[in-house]
């Protein structure tokens, strides 16, 4: 049904679906009308023919009938003696040549002279002979019995005329006794039927027609063909004709048994003699004209349909081709290429569509251009935001570049709600060894907050480095930020100092949430603070610091409201109390990671839509320092390694112990070689186990030598170029997280730091 999906296909289908049945109906009706007209014509022809034949026959019969009846009348009037009958008979024969023979048969006695024509002469026969016995013969008996003139049925006159005949018998009477009319005899006239045959044969039948003239059914049917018809055909139609006559019908069908061809049969009764005229017309021949007309009309109709289809196709193509061209043009626009040409606009609906599409294409193009420009702008902005985010991250303190005072552990996390945020934290070791820390939360989020944050961050660094106490830092910060604060932004800041040695904690707050204090037993309290106004709102504010002591093992937890306002699934904010319950882990790093994990937990997770900052400051036990002085000349390396294993055992995992051992072995082996080559060297070795790292310090009183200044060994695969020595220092530098060399008070000092955990690299 592919064709049905096109305009042309549908148009063709529906137009033909309507026109073809109408046309067929018209054809059928026209054919019927023609056939009826032809049938009516045939019936009329049959009538005319019957009338003509009847007239032909009547012109012969009527005078003869009249004549014979006149003779019978005269015989009654005159009552001549039988001897005069011959004269009368001759009169009859002379008057009507059609009369073949005639007799006057007497009733009273057997007397019946019969004269008939033979070879141009008049012959005589006596019908009263014993062998003939006319009184019982039908021609005499019927007239004598009915006392009416009668025509006999046709008969073959064997022994008489030797031909088909009919006989007209008219009774004549005489006045009998008591004045009654009584039968005197019968006058007859024999008509040979040859003239009927020739008369019938002379008739010209219409084409395709056969006809017969037949006597009423009797023992000897007389049937003669009309025109040049074959007499044998009559037998087939005779029963049907009689049937029709009995039903009073004159026109009907017969089906020829031989070939099954249907034919019309017209039957007429002739007025005289009760003879029948039967006409058979071949139906197919009769209707040939109707069929010819039908064929002509069919050809005409077919031609009309072809023209119609062509016209529809032409019109439909005219409609669909521009549409298709349009579709192809628009469909050819690949990958957002909107420069496709549209076909020439026509002056019809397709033209309207083309114009509309052109407008659509142009406005789409414009839109795409605008969109591309805005995407470019967006990506530029996005790129800038990315850089801004990394700059902001770089403002946060990094552990490596920021050695903490011993006994203090700090961990922090800042997660901006957007690419950049307004939270900040900072911590660094002051010149006097104290730790300065600060946390802040700028009002608002995003870029404005980030810019403000950068300023706050920088100021805290500057003010903090100058050695100001926390409350002064806040006051100064406020002075600087409150003046010309057009944007009316403000920041809450918590700032404090921690003395790692004795745990003294000085803390001042500018509108910031009070930090939490976690004790070694896991209990959590709020740090008592004297909270001042947020920074940037009004100038000239004095802040008051509170002093407490952070005991060993205690952790100070600072946070911004992004943490406490994180919403749980039930919609409730996390809050300070629940945050306190999350501080299960001891140690700053683990505590921060624990809280973050709890916030991100898939099941109980919290939704955070503000910048989030969490900072934990733990005061750990000051690391214990272990000292050992190996006697290098006396198997000192082996003893030193055994001692080191003892110190680290159970505190550090095996892989890290091996690393520490390796470092110690390499360094001590080198020193042992120096001692062997240049004389005794006094070596001391120190090991300190901090919360996160292992510190190894090697001191020796040998000549100044910075192993870190040595060139790295060549480690090529080429064994010839490869150095055999120098591998030890290389190993140390690769394994240690930090190695520093100093020369102090006549000693080489090498500080090696090793994280307690191996990095999973």
């Amino acid at each position: 049904m592919q064709a049905f999906r096109t305009v042309r296909g549908r148009l063709l289908f529906w137009v033909l679906a309507v026109t073809v049945p109408i046309y067929a109906a018209a054809l059928y009706m026209s054919y019927q009308a023609t056939a009826e007209r032809l049938e009516a014509g045939a019936a009329r022809d049959a009538d005319e023919l019957a009338a003509r034949l009847a007239a032909d026959i009547d012109t012969v019969i009527r005078p003869i009938e009249g004549g014979i009846r006149t003779v019978a009348h005269q015989l009654e009037e005159v009552n001549p003696p039988p001897e005069q009958y011959a004269l009368r008979i001759h009169g009859i024969l002379n008057a009507w040549p059609e009369v073949y023979g005639s007799t006057i048969a007497a009733e009273a006695r057997a007397f019946a002279p019969y004269y008939y024509r033979r070879a141009g002469l008049i012959a005589y026969a006596d019908l009263a002979s014993a062998s003939y016995g006319y009184a019982t013969l039908p021609w005499y008996r019927r007239a004598a019995d009915t006392l009416q003139p009668v025509w006999s049925a046709p008969y073959f006159d064997a022994g008489g005329g030797e031909t088909w005949m009919i006989t007209y018998s008219v009774p004549f009477f005489r006045a009998g006794r008591e004045g009654k009319r009584e039968l005197a005899g019968v006058v007859t006239a024999d008509l040979a039927l040859d003239w009927v045959r020739s008369s019938a044969a002379r008739v010209r039948l219409p084409p395709f027609t056969a006809g017969w003239l037949a006597s009423p059914p009797s023992a000897h049917d007389f049937i003669t063909p009309i025109g040049n018809a074959d007499v044998r055909g009559a037998a087939a139609v005779r029963p049907a004709a009689e049937d029709m006559l009995s039903k009073g019908r004159t026109f009907g069908f017969v089906r020829e048994e031989a070939n099954g061809e249907a034919s019309y049969l017209a039957v007429r009764n002739l007025q005289t003699l009760q003879w029948r005229l039967m006409l058979v017309m071949s139906r197919s021949q009769l209707l040939a004209e109707a069929r010819a007309v039908l064929r002509r009309q069919l050809w005409l109709g077919a031609a009309g349909l072809v023209l119609l289809v062509a016209a529809i196709s032409f019109v439909a193509t005219g409609v669909s081709r521009p549409i298709r061209r349009l579709a192809d043009a628009v469909g050819g626009a690949k990958d957002g290429d909107l420069d496709f040409p549209l076909p020439q606009a026509r002056r019809d609906e397709t033209g309207v569509l083309t114009a509309a599409l052109a407008r659509l294409r142009d406005s789409l193009k414009q839109h795409v251009q605008l969109r591309a420009a805005s995407i470019a702008a967006e990506s530029r902005l996005e790129h800038e935001l990315q850089i801004a985010a990394s700059i902001q991250q770089s403002m946060l303190p990094r552990r490596a570049a920021n050695p903490l005072p011993p006994g203090v552990e700090v961990a922090a996390a800042l997660i901006p709600a957007r690419r950049v945020g307004g939270d900040l934290y900072d911590y660094f070791t002051l010149r006097d060894g104290r730790l300065l820390f600060a946390i802040g939360d700028v009002s608002d989020k995003g870029i404005p907050a980030a810019l403000f944050m950068a300023r706050v961050s920088g100021l805290i660094r500057v003010l903090g480095s100058a050695g100001e106490p926390p409350e002064k830092i806040l006051a100064e910060l406020n002075e600087k930020l409150a003046e010309g604060n057009e944007a009316c932004m403000f920041v809450t800041v918590g700032c404090g100092t921690l003395d790692a040695a004795d745990g003294r904690l000085r803390y001042a707050s500018a509108g910031h949430d009070a930090p939490l204090l976690r004790r070694p037993d896991g209990s959590v309290t709020e740090l008592p603070t004297d909270n001042g106004p947020a920074i940037g709102i009004e100038a000239h504010v004095e802040y008051v610091a509170t002093e407490t002591r952070l005991a060993s093992g205690e952790t100070l937890v600072l946070f911004t409201d992004g943490v406490t306002e994180a919403t749980a699934r039930d919609g409730a904010a996390l809050g300070v109390d629940r945050l306190g319950k999350l501080l299960g882990q001891a140690g700053a790093e683990r505590l921060v990671q624990g809280v973050l994990a709890a916030l991100n937990d898939g099941m109980t997770g919290y939704h955070v839509d503000d910048d989030l900052t969490l900072m934990a400051i733990s005061r750990t036990q000051p690391p214990q320092r272990h000292c050992f002085e190996p006697d290098l000349a006396n198997d000192g390396v082996r003893q030193a390694l055994a001692w080191l294993r003892g110190v680290l055992a159970t505190h550090v995992d095996a892989a890290r112990i091996t690393d520490a051992e390796l470092i110690a072995e390499e360094l001590l082996t080198n020193l042992a070689r120096v001692a062997r080559e240049r004389g005794p060297v006094r070596v001391s070795m120190e090991c300190a186990l901090a919360a996160a790292e292992i510190l190894l310090v090697f001191r020796d009183d040998a000549a100044p030598f910075d192993p870190l200044a040595q060139a790295a060994p060549r480690l090529t695969d080429d064994i010839h170029a490869r150095s055999v020595g120098g591998l030890g220092i290389h190993l140390v530098r690769e394994i240690a997280n930090d190695v520093r060399y100093t020369r102090e008070r006549g000693e080489n000092v090498l500080e090696v730091r090793l994280n307690r955990k191996t990095e999973e690299a």
Partner: protein, 123 residues
Amino acid sequence: MSLKIITDPDKPTTLALEGRLDTHTAPELEQALDRMLMSAGIRRLVFDLGKLEYLSSAGVRCFVRARKILEPVGGKIAIVNPQPAVQKVLDIVKAIPAGGVFKSVAELDAYLDEMQRKVREGE
């Protein structure tokens, strides 16, 4: 450290090292190596480090020396089955060229079979 020398006529000489190979034990290995490499015409030497727990640069030097002796005469050394701590040291100092370290004896055997096949085929 304990040192086991396994010789199999079909396979290269294998030195199975166990325990620690450090400043103190390295000389022991060094002597053993010198004895082996000077006397027998060994071309291929395999160090099975499956049970070696500790390796310092002194030990690494032994491997490098072995290479210095063997490689100029077309020999080769292979390391089999190093433990993570030992592997780490080997990685840092790059003492054994890539392709000289095998995860297991089976891997080494497969490699040696391949080499032999190539030699037989005249490559």
